[in-house]
Assembly symmetry: C2
């Protein structure tokens, strides 16, 4: 059954959605099939993969809150090897609506169970999380095998990391003992900037091998791609951002000896 990876960091704007979209595209280019599960009410991953807001009939809201079957929610994208379970703003009331539900933290895990995923022929599932440590993010951490943490090379982003690690440990102790950290990915990294160099050396010192070798540089082509609703790998395959996400995919595949 596929590997399920939550892309999560409660700090806003650190590259969660960008990493989800472009890692999926890079894995597809290597012949692996990926399902993107968008659980951010902003629905940026859905938009970035070309799923028009009006075309989102069944969404992750229906999957998590109404028990819709995964096979009914999942739709293909224009990109070979990438399927998506899209999101809409309906999700923003999930915390309140699920308060009385005993299984409120496990609903996504139930929806992404082995049987549900079985028929889709997937290698990877990537869950794009909202910028919060709320119920939706906890659902993703319980559904996932591992967590990939995008880390912007900035001061405020580093500050939030210890809180994120605490939450991961809590989830591992209470609900998902198998949960691992897939890795910490430095994003929007500007080699010339001394703050970025400082964040990189701090991260490698305190987190060691958890930090991916691959670093994603700040690259304007990455931020232009979403306005054309394509991954940067399709928008500008030779751009620095695109090459970095391809390197990330290779690094990930090598871990599972799939490269």
């Amino acid at each position: 059954s596929p590997r399920v990876i939550a892309i999560s960091n409660q700090k806003g704007g650190v590259g969660k959605t960008t990493t989800t979209i472009n890692l999926a595209a890079a894995l597809a280019r290597e012949g692996f099939s990926t399902l993107v599960v968008d659980i951010d009410p902003q629905g940026n991953a859905s938009t970035g993969l070309g799923v028009d807001p009006d075309a989102r009939k069944l969404t992750t809201y229906d999957l998590i809150l109404d028990g819709a079957a995964l096979s009914d929610v999942v739709v293909p994208t224009e990109f070979d090897g990438i399927l998506i379970a899209p999101a809409t703003t309906d999700l923003s009331s999930a915390d309140i609506e699920l308060v009385a539900n005993e299984r409120r933290s496990h609903l996504l895990r139930d929806a992404l169970s082995g049987e549900m995923l079985g028929g889709l022929g997937l290698d990877y599932v990537l869950i794009d999380c909202p910028p919060s440590l709320n119920l939706l993010t906890v659902n993703a951490m319980i559904a996932a095998d591992s967590i990939l943490i995008p880390l912007q090379s900035e001061f405020f982003a580093l500050e939030g990391l210890s809180q994120l690690m605490l939450t991961i440990r809590e989830v591992r102790q209470n609900a998902n003992p198998e949960l691992r950290i897939e890795g910490v990915l430095l994003t929007m990294h500007d080699q010339r900037n001394k703050l970025a160099q400082q964040v990189e050396s701090d991260a490698r010192q305190t987190l060691g091998d958890l930090v991916f070798d691959t670093i994603v540089p700040r690259n304007v082509r990455v931020s232009e791609a979403p306005s054309y609703a394509v991954p940067v790998i399709d928008y500008d395959p030779k751009s620095k951002g695109s090459l970095a996400y391809q390197a990330l995919a290779m690094e990930l595949l090598a871990r599972y000896r799939q490269a």
Copy 2:
């Protein structure tokens, strides 16, 4: 009584905290007194103004959920003219904890009432919001006279704007009829980048005068300042970022004929 402005945008990483800290500092430089109310569980505004996490005895959690008096929660900062009501991660459970409270959306407004604010001699209150349209952000919108919307010149940031405007209209219809939009502030703007130029022209076309004349450029000195726990205006007064926030303060003051 002071003007209460919520700094809000559910898109993550668009410059909410940076704008809160540096607008407060710029207003202080002009002789106006500002209270920063940090309602983001990340507590970045508290850190960026030098309030050590261990020094946060009473916080906005106590203010909103335990009915603590504002005068007990507010502490001075090292910066003349800036007071703060600090935040900790305790706030992240606010949505769940307040579900059964009838007045759950109005608690911050009650805490920032005229009497409470009266004794502090304030000109402005700036509320730094989390990257979400959750109960805490709704509390800020009901407590505020107006909303200042930082808008990063990027595609995903523009996508969220219509949802934010819908929420503002809902709050105005149901709870706070006086709520106005103070303005939309373009942040991290790179004049050379065609996407940024596109976002600026789209924003001015659709939002007209709501968009501040002042634009905050992307400026590395802005992102370095938080690691020294000082506003950029104190870190590097002549930097492009610092000058932009001073211009923003003048633009704001001119509206209220205080300049």
